[in-house]
Symmetry: D2
Subunit: 485 residues, 4 copies
């Protein structure tokens, strides 16, 4: 008993299936060995020696070459699928006699054995992180091999259950956080790249900055998602004003009134499609509001990642209701990157681009009648309102490349969130501050009129903020969210 | 924003469904209000304001009277079931064309909406503990209302996923553990009742005692299951020798060779049917073996809860192969409780009872051909071996009442566990030390011969321990496990 | 290097002083060995192998018999004293030429080598606790051997530095505190004995109860002093009303206005004479006031431990200004313990005893012109005010035995604390609520008049509380503080 | 009571001494106010409201300008000194009648009131760190104002008691350490500068690197001293081989046999003169030896900071026994920095410089007959042995500038430590490996012969390591210790 109970237990397994584990044989196919162990885990053996088997399987999977991993996924897709004959029988049984018993039988038959396989793999210490990594790899394989999708469906279902918001822990990230976690914050930041430890410190340490992350108890040192927040005295119009190195924090400053979410980054590729951002934002709002009663508004400062590419597509159409000839001419100015350096050209472009932006958000829709902009879909889907367009909000290369420098603010107002969400989910209505709506040309206006009925609520009668911010100087960067197209 | 973002969010919900939440109206039916909120949680509203709604639902459920809770369960059973029409369509679709798409559609249709409902309830802080408590209540209601079972099936499925062994934390319980947890250890101990804090201390504090529990990250201060262990120099024959107050621990004593698991208790009624004991025992064996290399055997000291009642049933049969006339006469001695006080009567009874006990474990089976004894089913199912019968191992009122004082040891030997488990699971073979088998009468022997082929392995050629322990004095109590009939 | 660097280091010491450590020799005198090691610790060897030597010395001291410990203390007193010749020279040097250099030389010469010895002992892990225990033992030896006092003086000086309030940690004690610490709370409670774990729980767990302790980083699990607090809606008049088992806590109750310190207990005999109580009370007041803004007064409920014995002494005097003949007659009633059961006798006694109590607190003084009552000296010295006399505040055997049931409240009012303290420290003035002063007979009044000038401040013009509480029922127990006569 | 008990308490102080705290008066002298508060802290007021007063004093001190701080130190030096008259009386009293009482009186009179003042300052939360910072400032002032030294003497005495090794916590510093602490490691590293976070990570994260620091419970996030360790398979000859970026760590490598302490840095200027390094090294050796039984030797890789400057002084002497004419000629080569690039010149220089280095360590002494080299004094004083000279061990600018690239190893061998320490402390004997001794020229040899008797012990008969390491390549940097001249 001196080595390890689990090791001995596994040796017991090995003795009984000598061929399985005999790695000294030259001709052993590692995937084949792995599939044998996987079958054992699903059998009665798994009940007796589950932890040991699961450890062994994960260890062996961990050293497989990429192609062998793909083979292993094929095994999961092909062999650990629901048994068709049994499922057919269960389906027929239910159709003949639909009751609790036949329903239960059907539910069992429809679940693929690999679901139980994954649950048993998770018996091993540290398995959860390895399964998340396994799915990240699977997603890559799926790109060229879409029939692996049922495997992904089962992992996804499991992860949705395991990573239920009730199990997530919100932790503040600051300068007393272990360096091993901060390392990951630097690596995972996907919106406004962190330029090393000094930049990181500027985002975490000042008294008017916050960062929060969700963690899962089984992924101890690895955040799932994090958000960076600036506490300010007003709605911010540009990212550079937030991130500039020269910024001074004065301790005695007035209490902040506005919390600005300027960057949200998902961290785990293997959890793609499992949404944490909505919960994270609302929980952080809840906690900040309690900590700092002076806070009155909770907004984002967000990028507009599809604006430029959308503009490229419509410039070629002949629809003059959206783009007059004069407009088209003005847009020619954009061909010379120097426009950004000259006040006059800026102004001319602004007059044309902002109404187009209003259209882009409110009227331009995808086939599923949702907005083209992924960031907009995320925040509007959460119940936020499009609050302000920020001209030259991000004049970094990225910001100009994506949206000619445009940024926007979304506002999270608890009294409106549900109404906004439902309008958006049911009718595609984009909740928008009145001054943005007033930018729409008549033709656009007609397009969105259905939605506007809902949107133009009494509460908005008086716009509380200046809807369009103007930034004169040359500034930088911007925010993306957990939105994927 | 001064109160709470979630509260305001909920107020937003309330405004839009004034009738739902208007509790000032005299005639409001609390269950009806709860069901309205529950529907809202499943609708798009749940996406926007899930955490707030879930909190409110759990709060309202928490103050319901027992009967109203039952009404709520009926609502879950009736209304949040799979939609029959859609399910029928999906089943037919699959039968016509069984492919990944139709399979996926069927899998979705077969899941009851209440599964998603429970997952969304878990958005609220502290929800997991409340859902576990909800199931405990549901189990009571189900006793008289079996058609609530589908609700339980869905909760059970969820809990199996959430309480996956990979998420459990093993923690040692000792005298530095918070009193709030120790309190629960006292309350939950189901095998050998803990007689207050002094008794507890005797079981936790001495250097030759251990206690370990599984915890779940979401049930912070509440153990799921715990096991009490004594470290000894030999296989213990009676519970009283372990638990006596007068016991002295000498620090300089010889290193222990044997870890005795003398009590395992499940703590959460709401997790009934989810098995932790198997994992707990094996993990504790693994950890103890690492910590204390001197440990060579890992055994239980276990009660025999059905022995006396089984004996009562067979006494009335006329099967003389099991019970001779002489035997029947001897058993009459048991009518006088004084037998326990007299050496001679003890000896006579022992000669008759031990062979019967061997039969009870090895040959007497339920309809499903598993042993009658629930503790035996648990340990044998885990792959342990029945190692020794302990005559007068527990002479407490409970021990005499259940089994005329009989206790047994089960041995966990890693080299045998899988073989034992498979023999038991596939053929009902009871792995038994040879000396116990040799107690069997010829007729019993014939009954178990099939199993014995498997059981009589080479390793057992030399019995390593004296198979039957004899205890002269009057001693006490014993161990039950997470076994339910 | 496999064993231990320190062990090898010590072996190095041993080799060079073989006779020191050769314990195999039958005739070795353990104290002599210890003194040799002690000399080594003070020599250059101590610089090279201090940690190892200190460990060894403490280990050897730990197993000494009581008498040998006493011998060791004598060694410290005799041999590790200041060198008289050098000290004399330094004193003369200073007198001849008093400057920084000669002052420094004198300061060095006056410090006993044992001060450095104790500091070096503290190099060993866990030494601080052992030194505290050593002083506890020394205090016992000193009772019969007062010339050990210089040893105690040096330890005391060291402890005053080490246990400086700045190093103490205030921790809340509640039901989540480790049982090993709670154990000690039960053992150390010196005022109102804790009757086991259920009683302890009643004092820690309810939402209107608090307990706080000071800990020192080097005595991890061992509190130095703790205070028990009840949060109430009014000034409490009796201890039983606070501690009764039947008490119900209602969560929705009105916010508390009064924090009552009803028990303070010192825990470490070895730290006797080092005062923590003053700091503890004020820190707890600070913290509670921050946590619970509804709290308006901070009072004690305190015993009167010398009242009865003082009364016995004055009954024999012939001073009729304090005790009239009629009074003396009434006091005869106290000979029959049944007075407590009868309303009428109670009333008669109360009329005589309360004015005497006022005198006892305000006018009866020790030779050093401080009050006779040790609890009074403690709280008044801290700057508190004597606020109310509680007739029948503690009718337990202890309460009746000490003070015929009398208890009192002291009030900590931050605006008065310094003035009260200075009046008390400089003039012996007892800060007293006006209604208690008005109980004084004219003769007593004359005695305290000097003090009253200070005490009768403007703020007291309107007594805020009813100064004398009357309790009808039979109740129990009471509070003592870290006051020793 | 809503603000703070301590604040109100302080207001009470303020009311009674209105002039003290009236900061609204234009003409208030901040130092005068501070001195008034300081007197109050030492008076009876300090007993009543010590924590509040101490907080206030530290807050006010914290905002003083540099010159006002100096004034404050003068106040401490002048006014809070021992009372000369009382001290004179006590000294006379002792001389007349030297007994326990007069000794005690003398001891009290000789302690300056500022000692008690500092102890009372430490009542305030966070005071310890502020006092340490205060001393750092005082040390600067003392440079130009030596009569502040008595203030420093008292602080030093207090710190020696407070920062007793028994109160220090050894903590490992690694990549999971909070960034706020790592920040300080980067800032405090005094020997081989850390070039940012990547360099830091290379020193902390690899499995063959360790870093340990001492912390004090009252300076939570601020290390006192730390040591960096490399685990290797052999005695390292150059710092660059340890710190090079290209280094690869292989997990499966052979177990390390040697722990190399290559950098020790003190962190707190305010604790200058309080020695932690000796304890740190020995504790780390103890802990590493326990963790890694494969470790057999514990050595340093150390710089030789005075070698070059010493050489400069002797070159000008005419003592031909140490430096022959030929040697002098060779040393001319050093004027051309290019010598380092050419094998031949290196070799010629090596032949001359190494014997000089042997002389430098073993024979060249300061007036107090201790070695010139501060690092040598530190390690030899701890009982280490000079083990090897490393030619071109540090070819960085610093290494060449200090010692023409020379580095050395000191060996900590537990069996020798005490003997080495005593030889060094009592006779100035430098424990040296035989091969280094054999480099000495006859004249040097004569000089050190006294010491060599002691040093040439039996154990060294067989040199275990090659005494002189030769490094061919160009490498970098090196280690200094808590040695100040």
């Amino acid at each position: 008993m001196n080595v390890s109970f689990f090791q001995e237990l596994l040796n017991g397994v090995a003795e009984r299936g000598r061929h399985l584990l005999d790695r000294s044989l030259g001709g052993v196919d590692p995937t084949r060995e792995l599939t044998e162990l996987s079958r054992a885990l699903l059998s009665g053996r798994g009940e007796a020696s589950g932890v040991a088997l699961a450890q062994e399987i994960l260890a062996q999977y961990g050293v497989l070459a990429a192609e062998a991993q793909r083979d292993f996924f094929r095994f999961l897709a092909d062999e650990l699928s629901p048994n068709e004959a049994m499922l057919r029988e269960a389906a027929e049984g239910y159709l003949v006699s639909p009751n609790a018993v036949s329903l239960n039988a059907l539910a069992r038959a429809v679940e693929a054995p690999r679901a139980e396989f994954f649950r048993r793999l998770n018996l091993a210490p540290g398995a959860t992180a390895k399964l998340v990594a396994m799915r990240a790899r699977l997603l890559i394989c799926m790109e060229s091999e879409p029939n692996l999708k049922p495997v992904d469906d089962d992992l996804m279902l499991l992860f949705q259950s395991w990573f239920n918001r009730g199990f997530l822990l919100l932790r503040r990230i600051d300068w007393t956080t272990p360096a091993s976690i901060l390392d990951k914050i630097i690596a995972y930041e996907a919106v406004h790249e962190i330029q090393g430890w000094d930049d990181l410190r500027r985002r975490l340490d000042p008294s008017d900055r916050r960062c929060f992350a969700f963690f899962h108890p089984s992924l101890v040192d690895d955040p799932l998602i994090f958000v960076e927040v600036a506490l300010t005295g007003e709605l911010p119009g540009s990212i550079q004003s937030l991130l500039t190195e020269e910024r001074k924090v004065e301790d005695g400053e007035a209490a902040p009134t506005t919390a600005v979410f300027y960057s949200i980054s998902n961290c785990q590729e293997g959890l793609r499609g499992i949404s944490f951002g909505n919960f994270l934002i609302k929980q952080v709002v809840e906690d900040l509001a309690r900590e700092l009663p002076s806070l009155k508004s909770f907004v984002t400062l967000s990028p507009v990642p599809r604006f430029r590419s959308w503009l490229a597509t419509i410039k070629d159409t002949v629809d003059n209701t959206l783009l007059s000839e004069a407009d088209r001419e003005v847009l020619q100015l954009l061909h010379d990157p120097g426009w950004i350096l000259e006040q006059e050209r800026q102004q001319v472009l602004k007059n044309v681009l902002l109404p187009l932006a209003a259209h882009y958000f409110m009227a331009a829709k995808r086939a599923d009648s949702l907005p083209i902009d992924p960031v907009a879909r995320f925040h509007l889907g959460n119940g936020a309102r499009l609050e302000r367009l920020n001209w030259l909000g991000d004049v970094s290369e990225k910001g100009l490349g994506e949206a000619y420098g445009l940024m926007v603010n979304y506002l999270y107002d608890p009294r409106e969130i549900e109404r906004n969400h439902e309008g958006f989910a049911n009718h595609g209505t984009v909740a928008t501050a009145r001054p943005i709506r007033s930018l729409l040309k008549p033709a656009s206006r007609a397009l969105v009129s259905a939605g506007l009925v809902e949107g133009a609520s009494a509460q908005e009668a008086e716009p509380e903020v200046e809807p369009i911010a103007d930034t004169d100087g040359i500034e930088s960067t911007n925010d993306l969210v957990e939105a994927q197209d």
